[in-house]
Symmetry: C2
Subunit: 473 residues, 2 copies
Amino acid sequence: MPRRAHLLVLAAALVPLAAADRSEVEGYRAAAARIAGAALVDGRSREILQHLSDRIGPRLSGSPGAEAAVRWTRERLIRDGLDARLEAVTVPRWVRGEESAEILSPAPQRLAVTALGSSEPTPDGGLEAEVVSVGSFDELKALGKARVRGRIVLYHRVLVPGDAQQDYGALGPLRTRGAVEAARLGAVASLVRSLGTLSARLPHTGNMRYEDGVPRIPAAALAAEDADLVQRLLDSGEAVRVRLRLGCRTLPDVESANVVAELRGRERPDEIVLIAAHLDSWDLGTGAIDDGAGVAAVMDTLRILKSLGLTPRRTVRGVLYMNEENGLRGGRAYLEAHRDALGRHVAAIESDSGGTRPVAFTALTGEGGMDVLEGIVSLLAAVAPLAVEPGGHGGADISPLRAGGVPLLGLRQDTTHYLDWHHTAADTLDKVDPGDLARNTAALAVMAYALAEMPGTLPRPAPEESAAPRPAR
Amino acid sequence: MPRRAHLLVLAAALVPLAAADRSEVEGYRAAAARIAGAALVDGRSREILQHLSDRIGPRLSGSPGAEAAVRWTRERLIRDGLDARLEAVTVPRWVRGEESAEILSPAPQRLAVTALGSSEPTPDGGLEAEVVSVGSFDELKALGKARVRGRIVLYHRVLVPGDAQQDYGALGPLRTRGAVEAARLGAVASLVRSLGTLSARLPHTGNMRYEDGVPRIPAAALAAEDADLVQRLLDSGEAVRVRLRLGCRTLPDVESANVVAELRGRERPDEIVLIAAHLDSWDLGTGAIDDGAGVAAVMDTLRILKSLGLTPRRTVRGVLYMNEENGLRGGRAYLEAHRDALGRHVAAIESDSGGTRPVAFTALTGEGGMDVLEGIVSLLAAVAPLAVEPGGHGGADISPLRAGGVPLLGLRQDTTHYLDWHHTAADTLDKVDPGDLARNTAALAVMAYALAEMPGTLPRPAPEESAAPRPAR
């Protein structure tokens, strides 16, 4: 394009956009009614989730399941009339292999165990060592090298149900950094009591990280019951010897993709309301709650708006991110690919806390934004009473957009039982009620439509000093 | 002894005993207070259960765990001052081995599976076949040989939570007889949707039986989620092909034992109040609810009476039965060994429905017996409000005593969540609250004491035409 036109476009992008106004919301009631009706009565969210869960199954980054999910979601979106494309993401490829653990003494018993994502394997035939248990990194350091060297460290902390979401954030580092901290003191392996809220003999996996210069010791989670058993034996004052076998390994990186699908805006197609979920899952279950439900809501939102002919003023862009669970490379890749367009991202909304009933939008926005959002959710009062809560980062995948000042919203579900199943083999289709999933779709679709249609836009949040991506959950 | 004395003893045993009278119950209030106080405040039931669960672990008949349990409980009872002996029981020895299942087509996925007890293995390398699903034996027969031959039969029926105890009885034959009925029509294997009330990706095992003249095909349970997945794929009209590998096998029978411990009666030691639980468990979990809790209540009842010096008029005999789960050979062996003494068994009480709060005694007794029992449980109204429910067979182990006209009582626990964990890997110590277990002990001990102390005895139930043992649960 001629230089002059180019400058005009640039100028348009830099001019502060008009702020959205709550009084405009009432004008979208009729559209919201059509959208919600379509989601609840003529929706496809359950069908989409069922395909992902039953036909594709586990979708760990780089696995055949993840690649099948990329192909199928793109094809399905195109079939539904959307523009859909792939944006390349290079992802890690970690595979689990055989795994087992057992108490050798004082009372031989099998332990329910699963490797943490990114863990190194044990040596062939496993490793055997005494266990030392701690409840925190401070306790670990207080033990010191003399009592940790050559041992398996067990991080034994109980997630308090009812306060579990808060505890999950607080205890997460025991899983992600446990091996590094244990290895600094000479431990040979690291175990963590599963970060979960139900004792169903299910080990909960999740990602962990190594650090340059620190030995890369194997890391795994024990089921709650098994961690408690080891702890009781230790509490009796006896030495507890455990054998651990992890057959996991890291293969070369794999070329994968974010799936990006758009309903182009009718007036300002270069302005984007991004709606997001992540396509990858852990390998133990079929990723229905984490995050198949979010994927289904995003995909059905796009389909519903398209099929109703409700093409809003701005573009609604669905992004199905790859590699949220063990690397966040999809979130980073999107940031890199679209860095120049962040000023035209007027909002990003992620759904990544399951498929139970929607309860709130978290919102990181500027002065006055909350009022507009409260107006929008009021349209849905009889479908799903939704709070609007200030703060948050929307979701791990969209959190890098914070750096560009994008207003970040998180569609939050009732997480009372989320950590019962999260990252376990029991993250399966039955954990998502079709009606709840449809209500999530309605909430996401109405919010996306309104934000894309209103003449003004959400005020952008104040800059923050550190715009680090939010770690994967 | 001289012939004349022998005849006198026989005559005494045959004379109808005086019937117990509710008005006598009030006289036992002081003793009941001491017993309940000891159970709740100075009890050992939790310690006993913890040892069984943590130190001994799974106790399938014939396994090292079962034998360790026999040794340890006998020694512990002797240490607590009881007369304890072993009575021989020859038990089956079935071992699980490696097991797996997977959908091969139309959508490859791993399935959570576990062999049913007594099952034959699959051929080396497993077997592969299409699945045909039915909800009942009638549906199976309606399919006929043409559609069953060469297939894997899946019995897909959902236990309705809230009505689960009733359903468990109704659906139990799908597990125990499913392989036989399927094999009659030429099936190559039999699968059953786990008979459980929680979907936690846990397959529930349990016993099954073969029949002479019918091919012995492998039999296993799928986790609820996995059975439902197969069913959904079938519902779509596609052929579902599954590979099943079961490495289980049956080894030669093993000599094992019932553990029998007594507090001999001070006046009529030849008259017996029998209190019962079963020492064996399934191999997947540590048998805390099934039936470690019952074992702990029986053992602590004996210890409490002994330590308080409350030696009742009659003998209180604790029997820790072997092989309830896969054969009931302990129950039958006791019957054979004590057939001549059944007339002197004035009551038998079993605890075998978990370790949650006690809610009732079931009672199979004669006219007027319920009134006496209601009087006894009224002593415990503030410890555990207990109903007295007519009928039942007390429990699988003591059910053979029905043939001898023995009044049979079952101490029943709140089973709302019993079938969540029953026969799974998650039958572990944490599923039993120590306070609930102590209340069970109090209830069992007070009931046993009162029945052994009252001058009269419970009226014996009317004879029944078929006195078949109640099948193991």
